[in-house]
Structure formats: C-alpha cells, structure tokens
C-alpha cells in the first residue's frame, strides 16, 4: 500500500460516508413505503397529500359516530369553519354526550382557544412555529416514509376529531403492506367523490374523497369486524369568505382563562 492508495481510500470513504448521511437526512429512495397504488388511485391519494393546497376556506357540518369500548355508538353533529392557513371555529351542535356541546375550538391564527361554554372558561395555547412548516409532508407517494406518518400540523394542534378528515394528508401514509383500491365514484354532500378502500394489517377503511380538493367527505373504519368510526359531511362549502368574528378570541369580560397544563 502506497501513501496515495491510503489517501484515495480514505477520501473515497469520506465521500461515501457523506453521501450515506445525506441520504439519511433527506430520505432514501428505497425508504419509500410500499404503497400499493397505481394509475387512478395514485392520483386520488396524491390529492389527499396535497389537499390543503386545493382550498382556501372550508365550511361544513358533519355527523360523526365513534364507538366506545363496549361498541356502543356515540354520535355528534359538528360544525366546522376553517380559513387557511391557521384560522378555525369548530363546535358540537348536538351530541349524545351532552357535555360535548359545551366545547368549542377557536383559532385566530396565532392562538388556539378551547372554550367551555358551561363553565364560561377557556384555555389558550400559542401555535408553534412548525404549524407553518409544511415541507415535511410528503408531496407524492414516492415521498412517503417507510416507518413514519406525517399529519398536517393544524389538524394535530386543533385537537378535534373532525380535523382528520379536513386535513387528510395521513390517509396515503398507511403502514407498509397496506392496500388501496378504488371502488368507484359517488356523490356525497353534493360533491363528486372517489370511493377508496384501504386495508391495513388491523383495519378496514372506506373513504369518500372529494375529487376536487382531496378532503374526506365520508369515512368508515372497522377493526376485526367492530366498527370504530363513521363520519359523513351533510353539507360543505369551499372557498367562500368567512366572517372574521368567527375566529376571534373569547370575550374576556364573559369568559375567564383557565390554566393550560
């Protein structure tokens, strides 16, 4: 071994090491999840990943039924108004659980308020910086990571179950080995949707995905034959101006602030 051989070996090793680290940081092409989807279904799933870019405001009312541990249904009627990027007003108009109708979630774009109308109190939390950093959300099925799932941050920050359907970027990121199938086309809440079946190792899902925006307008999930959740929007409206008062902080002369844990 001559000195130049040593130099060449070490430099090659350094370059190889840097390339491996860079690939780890920015994602291996081979880390892509084995999303079994091609053709039309691929287009539909890609739309869910980019859904938040397809609309500026969203209004609607949905009926959401969740099943408890004993498989009893609990149904809520939820009203939702969202203005991109970070304003929202979500409330329970009716519910099997009367306590829920006292709760409302409001975001003015800077803070999120959880308002309790029964006790005339609210908690507030500041929206963190990552809420505006959307570059980590996969933009295509090839970008979907093998063992990670990324949700839209506003969905996770607002903390209401209906947000998962309004921001459906998670839908195309099911665990490796999951299968997606396009079942056809149906109308939901006056909108044309693609009916998509998702089968994972543990769950069976059917989602009705708005063809224009990618928003999930109807959803069904069961696990081992037990229904987990059913959701359907009764009406929806996209890209209409919403009264800014809807996104205002609670009136501090009427509501007192509670401590956020």
């Amino acid at each position: 071994m001559k000195q130049k051989d040593w130099m060449a070996s070490i430099i090659s090793g350094l370059i190889l090491g840097i390339v491996i680290v860079a690939l780890q940081v920015f994602g291996y092409p081979s880390q892509a999840k084995n999303v079994q989807a091609a053709g039309e279904i691929e287009k539909v799933l890609t739309k869910t990943l980019q859904s938040h870019k397809k609309w500026s405001s969203f209004q609607g009312e949905a009926q959401l039924t969740q099943y408890d541990a004993d498989n009893n249904p609990h149904t809520d009627l939820i009203s939702i108004e969202v203005e991109q990027p970070l304003k929202a007003n979500v409330s329970f108009k009716a519910s099997d659980d009367k306590e829920k109708t006292n709760n409302k979630w409001v975001s003015d774009g800077v803070k999120i308020f959880r308002v309790d109308d029964k006790n005339l109190s609210y908690t507030e939390s500041t929206i963190p910086g990552f809420a505006m950093k959307l570059n980590f959300i996969p933009q295509s099925l090839a970008d979907v990571k093998k063992d990670e799932v990324y949700h839209h941050p506003f969905e996770m920050l607002l903390s209401n179950p209906i947000m998962e359907y309004v921001y459906p970027v998670w839908f195309a990121q099911a665990r490796s080995g999951s299968k997606y199938q396009l079942l056809g086309e149906e109308t939901v809440a006056g909108r044309t949707t693609s009916k998509v079946e998702l089968i994972t190792e543990t769950d069976h899902v059917i989602a009705w995905i708005d063809q224009e925006t990618g928003v999930i307008l109807k959803y069904f999930q069961d696990s081992d034959g037990q229904t987990i959740v059913e959701m359907e929007f009764i009406w929806v409206q996209f890209n209409k101006k919403i009264d800014s008062q809807k996104f205002s902080a609670p009136d501090k002369t009427k509501y007192r602030q509670s401590e956020n844990q």
Binding site: G13, L14, Y67, D68, K100, G129, K133, M156, F171, Q261
Partner: protein
C-alpha cells in the same frame, strides 16, 4: 503487493471510513428512543398506568390508562438530550383512543394523535419540532388522558417516543 490486493484493502479502508462517519453522524443526531419503562407522574389523577404486554407494542409492552374528562392524568417520558429537534411517538397497532401530547422545553405546545387512526398504527407519528433547537437543553414529552371531543373510556397508550437532535 499486487494490484488486486491493494484494491481490496483500499475498498475495505474506504468502507470502514464511510461506516465511521455514519456512526458518528448517527451518534450526534439520533434518532434516540425513550421507552415507556420509566414514566414519571406530572399532575392530575394519581396511579401509574397499567402495563400491557402485547406484540402490538414496541418492545412487547405498552402502558395505558383510560381516557377521561373528569380525572385526567399527566405522565412524562425521561428528559431528552440538548438541542432536541424533531419529536415522534410510536402508535401501537392496538391503538383505540385519542392521545394528547405536550412537548415542553423553553416553551410548550400540545398536539393530538388519534391512536385508532388506521395510518397511525404500527408506525412513528410525527408530533412536531422544537422552536428552540439551537438553545434548548433538552425537554420532555407528556401524554395525558383527556379525551375531550372524543369518546372516552378507551385505552390511551404510552409506548416509545423518539427524537432527533440538531447541534
């Protein structure tokens, strides 16, 4: 030394160098995993979460408490290392309820993960990142059993959490 032998030794040296760099990079930036083995009580209703033995959990075990709105419990994982950047939580494949996480370093924020969501099961769910990555000296992640907005009485699961650092 003939050319073939020199070439072979050079390749071995190159691979060892590359491996060393990868190990060093991994040691610096993670990802690091913290299991639920040592959960710390933070506030609310007392009593440790129940241990659940299941192959659906990372490492074969989870901890759980039932979701509630009236006697909410908060527990935390161990403190993370300095310059904590991205934070993840593992979603066991037996997830059935909503989990509300709070990240605390110089500041704090709360996110909600529906553990029953089909895409969250059996994978790392991204929770967000620290706004103070360059100055934080670590922080901790809590999980609570507040099910406001969801149907209560189902298992809220503690499994592993994972984070990266960025010096």
């Amino acid at each position: 030394m003939n050319t073939a032998k020199r070439f072979s030794i050079s390749i071995v040296i190159a691979l060892l160098t590359a491996l060393s760099i990868t190990f060093v990079a991994q040691a610096i930036s993670g990802p690091y995993t913290i299991t639920e083995d040592t959960l710390y009580y933070v506030s609310g209703a007392t009593g440790l979460p129940t241990t659940l033995s299941s192959s659906a959990c990372k490492g074969g075990y989870c901890a759980y408490k039932l979701g509630t709105t009236s006697s909410v419990s908060w527990y935390r994982w161990e403190y993370t290392a300095a310059h904590t950047y991205q934070i993840y939580a593992y979603g066991p494949t037996i997830g059935e309820s909503v989990a509300k996480y709070t990240w605390k370093d110089k500041n704090s924020w709360n996110v909600t993960v529906n553990q029953a969501n089909a895409a969250n099961k059996g994978t790392w769910v991204y929770l967000g990142f620290s706004d103070y990555v360059s100055t934080n000296t670590g922080g901790y992640l809590t999980l609570n059993t507040d099910c406001t907005g969801w149907t209560c009485g189902k298992k809220v699961l503690w499994d592993s959490m994972r984070y990266t650092t960025n010096p």
